[in-house]
Symmetry: C2
Subunit: 586 residues, 2 copies
Amino acid sequence: MVSGKQPKVADSDKLETMRHSASHVLAEAVKSIFPDARFGIGPATRDGFYYDFELPRSLTTDDLPLIEAKMKEIVAANLPFSREEVPKEEARALFSAQPYKLELIEEIPDEKVGLYRQGEFLDLCRGPHVSATGEIKAFKLVSIAGAYWRGDEHRPMLQRVYGVAFDTKEALEEHLTRLDEAAKRDHRKLGRELDLFSIHEEAGPGLVHWHPRGSVIRRVIEDFWKDEHIKRGYDLIYTPHIAKLNLWQTSGHWDFYRENMYSPMDVDGQEYVIKPMNCLGHILIYKTSQRSYRELPLRYAELGTVYRYERSGVLHGLSRVRGFTQDDAHIFCRFDQLEEEVVGVLELTRFMMDTFGFTNHKVLLSTRPEKYAGALDVWEEATEILRKALESSGIAYEVDPGEGVFYGPKIDTKIEDALGRDWQGPTVQVDFNLPQRFDVNYIGEDGKEHMVAMVHRTVLGSMERFLASLVEHYGGAFPVWLAPVQAMVIPVADRHLDYARKLVAELKADGVRVEVDGRSERVNLKIRQAQLNKIPYMLVVGDREVEESSVSVRLRTGEQLAAQSLDSFKQGVKQAMASRTQELKL
Amino acid sequence: MVSGKQPKVADSDKLETMRHSASHVLAEAVKSIFPDARFGIGPATRDGFYYDFELPRSLTTDDLPLIEAKMKEIVAANLPFSREEVPKEEARALFSAQPYKLELIEEIPDEKVGLYRQGEFLDLCRGPHVSATGEIKAFKLVSIAGAYWRGDEHRPMLQRVYGVAFDTKEALEEHLTRLDEAAKRDHRKLGRELDLFSIHEEAGPGLVHWHPRGSVIRRVIEDFWKDEHIKRGYDLIYTPHIAKLNLWQTSGHWDFYRENMYSPMDVDGQEYVIKPMNCLGHILIYKTSQRSYRELPLRYAELGTVYRYERSGVLHGLSRVRGFTQDDAHIFCRFDQLEEEVVGVLELTRFMMDTFGFTNHKVLLSTRPEKYAGALDVWEEATEILRKALESSGIAYEVDPGEGVFYGPKIDTKIEDALGRDWQGPTVQVDFNLPQRFDVNYIGEDGKEHMVAMVHRTVLGSMERFLASLVEHYGGAFPVWLAPVQAMVIPVADRHLDYARKLVAELKADGVRVEVDGRSERVNLKIRQAQLNKIPYMLVVGDREVEESSVSVRLRTGEQLAAQSLDSFKQGVKQAMASRTQELKL
């Protein structure tokens, strides 16, 4: 979901060629160390390159500097890249010891096969490449991972070596610093350190258990989300997690989406499945009465937990999971209301993103794909409505042609976090498929039945992925309104414990999330621990504070504020909570 | 779950005999109308009796007065009940045309079989009975239902006729009035009328879809529940709805509880099940770190949705379902903390019941059953702890011997609602089984590992069953803090609509749940509809209110209050919400 910053478009082709060439140099270096290596593929990536190998032993990170040194020799030798074309028969002979290459050769439709050679190394490749290895500028090998040949878990597992490559040393350094920072902010690492969540092999990969501190954040977000939706005319609903398979056959999910659904369970001889989406329950509620045009729009919102199968290889902390709670809603409206509804969703999206401090968005309008449901003119009308909604909202957007869902066009928002990484954010999608399949209609002013316009939308995505993004965006240092523990009271000595507990009781009564560190440890150690836990405020209380009935506030940034009354502190914290400010101050 | 009020114990034997005799009279009456009837069984029930018949046609409620008239003739004839004992062989001959009776005869272990005869009717029966039909006092046939022979869905479906019987006409009248009131308050009926929830055959029986208005009530209860738990030192958590089957094998659920669990689904060749209980996720979170005695008690609370198989025949609205959200919590503590923890749960239970206006409870202490897990002395200690907790809480209780769960003793609270009906309420259970199976421990002051004491508890039961009880308890007229719509603004004419909308906006901004009835209908009709919807306050606004910037408040009881300022009304509603009062006033 998260990935590195894109280079500017103008440079990207040149960079990509250089990175692809670096992968050949990597392969040559590996061959010089392991002459019997078998080679898979070696493409450029967003930030560099990789190559897949079958080797006589497993690589460790200790191998990377050795391989890198060998690569540097090859680059220093400035070996030319030369292109050849040979008949398939000859190619088969050249790669007779390379079963993966042979497999690729068989799939090439042309009679001739392109090869590239640099130094000792010959590869099956369409190119292009730089003219000589000396043109490969700043690069570094960064990691090793297992990768199934052709991504198929029934084929052999190869070893993939990843590298990054840039056209200047400075760009490389900048990128490595960013990787470093990203590793520090990795939500899996911070999730453990801040005790936010866990995933258990015994229960199943990709299934998230929210710990008390993670749950505090989730509840604050959920309450905020619910209140904001009610203000904007949504109704909250709850629907069950299982339903008869029949329903998913009627909807078309069982045909189009089955690979992401879990296998059915048997209840009284009927098949049931756990829901991958919340739509169908919402439709059933809509259909419990005959709706009139006067009732529309109806906006049903649900924090609905869905389960979708993902291959175990792609699971990643909270950001790629098998069960997640979508901040979902479905809007049932008339076609003449659609533009206003989409504008409303875009405005809610902007408000949410601003509140959480994601200030850089990229908005994409995805249009009709090759395979689609519904009539062409309705597609065009709906796409035009989305476009108008974007324009009347004053939102800059790009068109992503053919990237709409089969059931309708959509607007996606990609969010850029503090490290300049994109993630899949809010989405608003028009659906022509489900209203038809379930006959979701209303009685119009003309007394006749009309099909509703149905909108699917999320503004956070899912609670799991959103927490992952928040943790990495803030580096775990949550703003006051989200912080699981907002203040830690630190008594200097045991004789200050009573006063400390009194503070805690008063703050708690006012809704402040506060704890006391009553251990007999040095004050500095307790401060350091509270700072490691990214707790916004530390209240160190000693003789003076007890005497003056005051508190000395220290921020997690290390800043020490002037002593103040408990009341003044309380007001400050409550103000920070109510305003949802990103800033840490009082 | 809900059932009629028990007669006093002293009278119950006599009443039961009379009711059982009434079932024989019912059978005789049916036989006189359908000479070829085949007879099943006819026992006494809590309020009366029933008899199961196989008949040449389906009965309708129109048949009941005819059968009842026939019964009255038999009673008036004052026919004596006479007992006989015959050898099995003779019984077989007597009942040769009665296959169900023949089946019962085969199962009697004795060589002789007891028979009862009154008038034309002979039945297989152990008795006792009244001496003559004239002793059957006040009775009435009330309903017909299908019932599988021996409750087995693979056997024929018989027709069951239900009657009620009491020893005085007054008692019968009182009971019929209560039945009538219960039917009016039936949560399935009111749930439809008040648009609270629906259950869909297409999605599956027993799976509840919460509509916007039901969801408002649920959210108010959930928020209240969460806040109250946090105040009392609980941590909220969230755990997934599916987990590997292995986990449920380790816990023993797959052995002991499988008939209530759904069949496994396959994920990557491993079996997963949808959870019937929340315990295991809570244990996994507890075990993510080595706990110290200083950290205990840990109290994990979750509004956890679980799925349990129930036979379709027993499903009933919201009170017997297949998926429900428990207001669950697990307390992990030291044995020396157990009493205080149980006292805390009992106090929270009492507080919750008082808040919702359930003032009559019956508390049962259930002790060790014949089959049990854990050591005898630990059972005795734990039972003693529960007893002490009850006594130090000043709670009157009865002992329910042998009714504990196999894994530990428990305290159940049965709640009596406004109609004098019991329902299964809060429960607190000690568990010796799971801590052992999952090695749930802590490091004691002695530096050694000790097993935790684990407590399961709910204080509402489930959101679904609790809503059913609330609907029936209040007859749908929710107190202000729970009412989905608290106020309906009713403009007298179209020219008052602007003022009405202004009121709505101001009230909404202050968190009041308010709507406007802007239709061009007569005021009286709008008032009647708001009353049918049990909306606490109606604000009728006409010329005077617009002129004086005031509101005229009418209560759903019909009471008309003096005109007042909007501010005064707002303060009144907010006060009613904050105090959670049961009373409707301002």
